[in-house]
Symmetry: C2
Subunit: 490 residues, 2 copies
């Protein structure tokens, strides 16, 4: 034990260090101390601390729940000269969801599709009264303009999760939706969703493990076939894009060793929101790539097979579940008017029954009284709502309505109007679909093939949030083209 | 449930597919079927299958245990026109260990330091009788030229690990060493090593979680200080480089928010193999960067603090254990002569007591009878041994000694000679140490500062195995310089 023999401490070093150490703890700056006032409140039999209400001589505080497309676009555009921003979310980054399927097979790196909040809105890491809190919001006290949160501490065995309160001047609920399982038994236990980076990591690890195990002597032919079956339930863009990526991976990168891998999509029809011509094209292309499309009603999911309602057993090695989203338990728990289960909003994206609360993205929908349809749960809806609401809140703040209960007499300007810009989906083999019609019934341009693959990639590349990730996505695509996909299982 | 309503199967699609499907299963090619002969043998009361001994008209088979520096360099240089290669390892990639510390804080991507075996030796994924098996070797039957393996199936709940045998013509044991814990209680449970990519991922996740939790209201000042203390036990290059990287991360990337993070190194002395002048320089530089060097004997590791032998308690949020390596349980289990606990080898890297067995890297050491010293457990020793042994085995194969028990009368040429090329360590803030002396006593060039930082980076960049990773490491370094380190916790 050479490192541990000598017990003499280098005391000079410690003395030098401890003086500078004291000057920066416990709080980084007097400014921070001034703003961070811990309030001790008695609530639900626990001492609960947190951020108390802002004073009239302080900047008003916008609290954003969630860090998806809606919340992040909002935070990006918020004028931090007017507002302090506090983001509460269980993850410290935004996931660039349209490219997530590509990370499962190594076309893109995981980090290339994750954008830290601090890069989207630098104020949360540099401004003393702006924060990012790694936590979930459990409840909202609309009357007292306060939310109750609980920290996410998974992975830290020495800390119990704790509760804290955050008072808001404006609250933006952008906490998103949950994956639908239709109450089918075994889905949560055995299937993998494809909504977060850790889902993509799990899919990648399972896929590579199955490929390698299928090559080891001693596994039966039946087990081998099962290990190499990938089943995707749901024929929306995520399911189709994952199948396309998987086929590319099999055909181009592991073909020589694992040519017998097959994937299946269980869905009534694929890409139901797309133009009929495009759907036929996609079906043909996917079939050519070795994807088998099967229609069926899943009844039960077991660890190694799914059982359809007609009694068919479908063994699988990897099961990806991608059948759309519905309201989250948190949204269900809120006692405010809903629209199709979502938080009901008016044309200015406000929750009209309470003061200073807004909701955007997949968790919200227009109230029936607005006479508008609930918008689809799409990234482009969420992003446009975030952009609109940021400019609305900036306007309100400039006109002196930033603090709680101060915005009643401010003209909000034009209401939010959504114009669908079109849908895109890649289907593998350098091919994609682009549907530029405003709605399913409208006429317009729809493209398929290499041109639209090129349009698809360019469109995404220009919309990835930071320059760092733009560069990385481009480099990932280039290296995949030159060197193939990476198959290290780390 | 729009996707599940319709139960009609697209029968045309299925029929088209199933014909092509049959033609490529169960085995990818007749060639593969011809070589992959499953032998059913009765062993330890189980049916054990595997690869049986090669026939004289087949290529001889080299079996390599491990996928570290030694095994991978060997596989890279093996002439696959002469031999088939079978690699047995619990991970399907080689870790470029000298750069691993950089991945913990986001300077480099995890994937940039992992090289898949298939990229190092393409034969394992393209040749029908060459394989990579994701498994551990449990035992070696030296008399019958056969190893017994067990698959690694962590993460696959539907499969029990199973055993299989692989016969060898030549066996190369390059299974590496284990991290030393000196029997100190709690190290395995609470500390993190830094030897594999998943260790670096764990360190990164813990570090970012601790940083974020320390900012949430409700955590006591004492807990906050604990969360932000990173303790490194061991003052070797890994410990010093990790501390340097961590300081850079704190000073450059999260300084504004988390200025009060401190790290400590507990070690008797740092970089004991380096030139004294360099060690003083390193100590000063690290101290300037906020690293506190403490000498002490660790007695006990608890979930939130370490206890030193003088009774001092040192609370920590993250504990990295890097105190060198010693023999693995597998090496201990082998009934062959040892040298300081390692597998004893002669000057040609053979295990002299048995036929056709070689050992290289951290698991092997020169027998006392050779009159040579056991070489240090360094990447450069392992790599040079792998290179030497590949050329020796290629020579033996060319002269007709490739098959089992056929190499007795072949002249092996010059024995292996190790010449130390020097040591390098980076210490953060664009500074590094380069010690180009052949041994601790010898005279020679030693450098410190920016020049040697530049030498350090260039040296590593040219030695990363594939062009893909060379490009990625360069791009990672450039983007870190321009955009800073990534702090998304995925």
């Amino acid at each position: 034990m050479p490192w541990f023999k000598n017990l003499i401490k280098i005391s000079k070093t410690i003395t030098n260090q401890s003086s500078s150490y004291k000057s920066i703890t416990p709080l980084a700056s007097p400014l921070l101390a001034q703003f961070l006032q811990f309030t001790k409140q008695y609530s639900t039999n626990d001492h609960v601390v947190g951020l108390e209400a802002t004073k009239s001589d302080q900047k008003p505080r916008i609290v954003v729940l969630g860090s998806g497309w809606a919340g992040c676009r909002l935070m990006k555009d918020i004028d931090t000269n007017i507002y302090d921003v506090v983001c509460v979310s269980p993850r410290n980054h935004m996931v660039f969801t349209p490219l997530l399927a590509s990370t499962c097979v190594g076309t893109l790196e995981f980090r290339s599709v994750a954008e830290p909040i601090g890069r989207i809105q630098p104020a949360v890491s540099t401004q003393p009264a702006s924060y990012f809190f790694l936590a979930n919001c459990n409840a909202i006290d609309f009357d007292n303009h306060m939310i109750q949160c609980q920290t996410v501490t998974e992975g830290v065995e020495t800390l119990e999760p704790w509760k804290f309160n955050v008072s808001y001047d404006k609250l933006v609920i952008a906490s998103g939706a949950h994956a639908l399982t239709f109450g089918i038994k075994g889905v949560n236990e055995h299937a993998t969703f494809l909504r977060e980076v850790h889902h993509a990591q799990e899919i990648r690890r399972k896929l590579l493990l199955n490929l390698m195990l299928s090559d080891v002597p001693g596994v039966s032919e039946e087990e081998k076939r099962r290990l190499l079956h990938c089943v995707v339930v749901g024929g929306g863009p995520t399911g189709v894009e994952f199948s396309g990526e998987l086929s590319d991976f099999i055909l181009k990168d592991v073909h020589q060793r694992y040519a017998h891998v097959k994937d299946y999509i269980h869905a009534n029809e694929i890409l139901s929101s797309f133009d009929d011509r495009l759907r036929v094209y996609a079906t043909n292309q996917l079939t050519k790539s070795g994807v088998r499309l099967v229609r069926g009603l899943v009844q039960h999911v077991q660890p190694d097979k799914i059982i359809l309602s007609d009694g068919t057993n479908v063994p699988y090695g990897l099961l990806v579940w991608s059948t759309g989203v519905g309201p989250s338990p948190f949204v269900n728990s809120l006692d405010i008017p809903k629209a199709k289960g979502r938080i009901g909003i008016d044309e200015w994206l406000r929750v009209p029954s309470v003061q200073d609360v807004y909701s955007i993205g997949d968790c919200s929908g227009f109230l029936e009284s607005t006479g508008r349809q609930v918008l689809p749960a799409l990234a482009q809806v969420a992003e446009r709502q975030g952009k609109y609401l940021a400019s609305l809140l900036n306007k309100v703040g400039k006109e002196g309505g930033g603090h709680a209960n101060c915005a009643q007499n401010i003209n909000l300007g034009d209401p939010f109007v959504y114009k669908h810009l079109g849908s895109m989906a890649t289907i593998g083999r350098y091919k994609a679909l682009v549907d530029l019609r405003e709605s399913k019934e409208a006429k317009g341009v729809s493209l398929a093939g290499f041109t639209s693959f090129f349009v698809w990639r360019s469109a995404y590349l220009t919309r990835v949030v930071s320059w760092r990730n733009k560069i990385y996505v481009l480099i990932n695509w280039l290296t995949t083209l030159v060197f193939g996909r990476d198959i290290s299982r780390i």
